[in-house]
């Protein structure tokens, strides 16, 4: 069922009083859980749940020839798929525009934060580099799939190990994992998406709230030292976001980062 008008009115009315349908505050997020080893064929995998939203992320590695403009750097690819099991609005077939946008937002967050040390993924310059392929599958869509996917990708990358590469025969020995993790840096990105519903800004929407929203903005934030850095930003939706609203979003993002990031880091650390 698409969102009926009365539900949208209700959401906006409650938000103007600072309340939400599930009794959260506008900047509260739902319970988050991360699992690993959900796929035994992938080099690293994670299942992330935010409330009822659920995604599975798998990381595969391969040895390829590098791009000509970056001869000593590994490559990264992120793919996203919404299958019909994750909601009645999704159909089978190649990824639609929303899935393509989502994978690109996730990709950009990871790439621009310099989270992966691409130089260390080089085996032989101009000839052989590791290629990281990340697949995100949405299992259930109850809103905020962007943040869930992004969280899953970051977790799965941290939990992956490189497979053994046989240089003589130029073969990757899948199934035999080495002890080497994927070379990562301290800049762990955390993607946060804010939604504008009516004149209110909210974080971590449910499906209904996401349907009621007119605009959204995604930011990938890292904090390698004291300061926080916005690495990527993407706006979606049809209505504009004013400067004042943007300022509140950034302030809000900093607050949520301080609360959410240690939680997530601890969860991933426990899984290693």
């Amino acid at each position: 069922m698409e969102l009926p008008n009365i539900n949208k009115k209700k959401i906006i009315k409650l938000l103007s009083e600072g309340k939400r349908i599930d009794s959260r505050n506008p900047s509260d997020y739902r319970e988050i859980s991360i699992e690993t080893d959900v796929s035994n064929k992938a080099e690293g995998s994670a299942r992330v749940r935010i409330g009822k939203t659920e995604v599975i992320v798998g990381v595969k590695l391969d040895v390829v020839t590098p791009y000509a403009d970056h001869p000593d750097e590994g490559t990264l690819m992120v793919g996203m798929e919404f299958s019909p099991i994750c909601g009645e609005r999704y159909e089978v077939g190649p990824p639609k525009i929303n899935a393509i946008e989502l994978s690109r937002v996730v990709d950009r967050g990871v790439r621009e934060s310099k989270f992966i040390d691409f130089k260390k993924l080089c085996i032989k310059e101009e000839e052989k580099v590791w290629s990281i392929m990340i697949d995100v599958y949405c299992i259930n869509d109850d809103g905020n799939v962007i943040d869930a996917s992004s969280l899953g990708v970051v977790a799965a990358l941290q939990l992956s190990k490189l497979p053994i590469y046989d240089e003589e025969n130029d073969q990757v020995k899948y199934g035999e994992l080495s002890e080497t993790p994927i070379p990562l840096t301290k800049n762990i990105p955390l993607a946060m998406t804010f939604y504008k519903v009516g004149n209110n800004i909210l974080f971590d929407p449910t499906r209904d709230e996401e349907d009621a929203s007119e605009a959204r903005i995604t930011m990938a934030i890292t904090s390698p030292d004291k300061d926080k850095i916005i690495n990527s930003m993407q706006k979606g939706g049809i209505t504009p976001i004013s400067i004042e609203e943007m300022n509140t979003i950034i302030e809000e993002a900093e607050k949520i980062y301080d609360k959410l990031f240690p939680e997530v880091e601890k969860m991933v650390e426990n899984l290693k």
Binding site: M1, E2, L3, P4, N5, I6, N7, K8, K9, K10, L14, K19, I21, D22, S23
Partner: protein, 246 residues
């Protein structure tokens, strides 16, 4: 042994609840077992196929996932999952998806959408301004007037029907609607009283809640609890516990 006894109790419990909603059926001599599509329920020419079953040679085969019930000679299935199957005179709640010159298309959660003709509205409507009465995205409480092959007609000409104002809609599986209503409406009245919320249940599984924010949330959680635990024992007590302790 113990487990089997338990199972039987659950099944008996179900029988009484279900039969209350269909009070014209006798509840004696009923045995129920869980079946999946394609499963043979009974063999022999003594039986006749009822709802959601077909006869294949001398076997009665299930067409749904649900509880099989043998009533005298007729074998029928009470489905547990699946889409809503519209029947004449069902009271439903729907969402308008389209407007044309002669009426509204309504999404009712079934395989096909329904149609509400202008002539079935209780008051005069200006043909040049149909949206004034109901527009795309509005929720309506309507009755199914007729079900023909591929077309379902609705009507608003009855007490309590019309466009829904305020509140909000939630959705459950239509097969769980009897559970939400309970014996002679006991379950729904319990939720209404405890949460001080106005609730209308459509037979297609769309439910309209109207009350305070807190009451609506509580009612929604209670209804979701009923949906997930529909076949468990002592459901009314569980819901009562939930509503009083939350």
């Amino acid at each position: 042994m113990n487990e089997e006894e338990n199972k039987e109790e659950i099944i008996n419990n179900e029988t009484t609840e279900e039969s209350d909603n269909k009070s014209n059926e006798s509840s004696s001599n009923k045995e129920r077992k869980m079946v999946v599509p394609g499963e043979t329920i009974v063999q022999g020419d003594d039986y006749l196929p009822g709802d959601f079953t077909i006869k294949n040679k001398d076997e009665i085969v299930s067409q749904r996932y649900g509880l099989a019930e043998i009533n005298d000679r007729i074998v029928k299935i009470i489905p547990i999952s699946g889409v809503f199957e519209p029947r004449r005179s069902n009271n439903i709640i729907g969402r308008i998806t389209d407007i044309n010159f002669s009426g509204w298309s309504v999404e009712i959660g079934g395989p096909v959408s329904a149609f509400l003709p202008l002539s079935e509205c209780p008051r005069f409507i200006n043909k040049n301004n149909i949206e004034e009465f109901a527009t795309i995205g509005d929720a309506i409480n309507a009755k199914i007037w007729s079900v023909k092959r591929g077309s379902i007609d609705l009507t608003l000409k009855s007490r309590g029907l019309g466009v829904l104002e305020g509140g909000r809609l939630i959705k459950i599986t239509s097969h769980k609607v009897p559970r939400v209503i309970g014996r002679e409406g006991s379950m729904i009245n319990l939720i209404k009283d405890e949460t001080q919320t106005e609730i209308t249940v459509g037979q297609n599984g769309f439910i309209w809640l109207n009350g305070s924010a807190e009451g609506e949330r509580k009612a929604e959680e209670a209804i979701m609890l009923i949906e997930t635990e529909a076949s468990s024992e002592g459901l009314t007590d569980k819901v009562e516990d939930f509503l009083k302790n939350e």
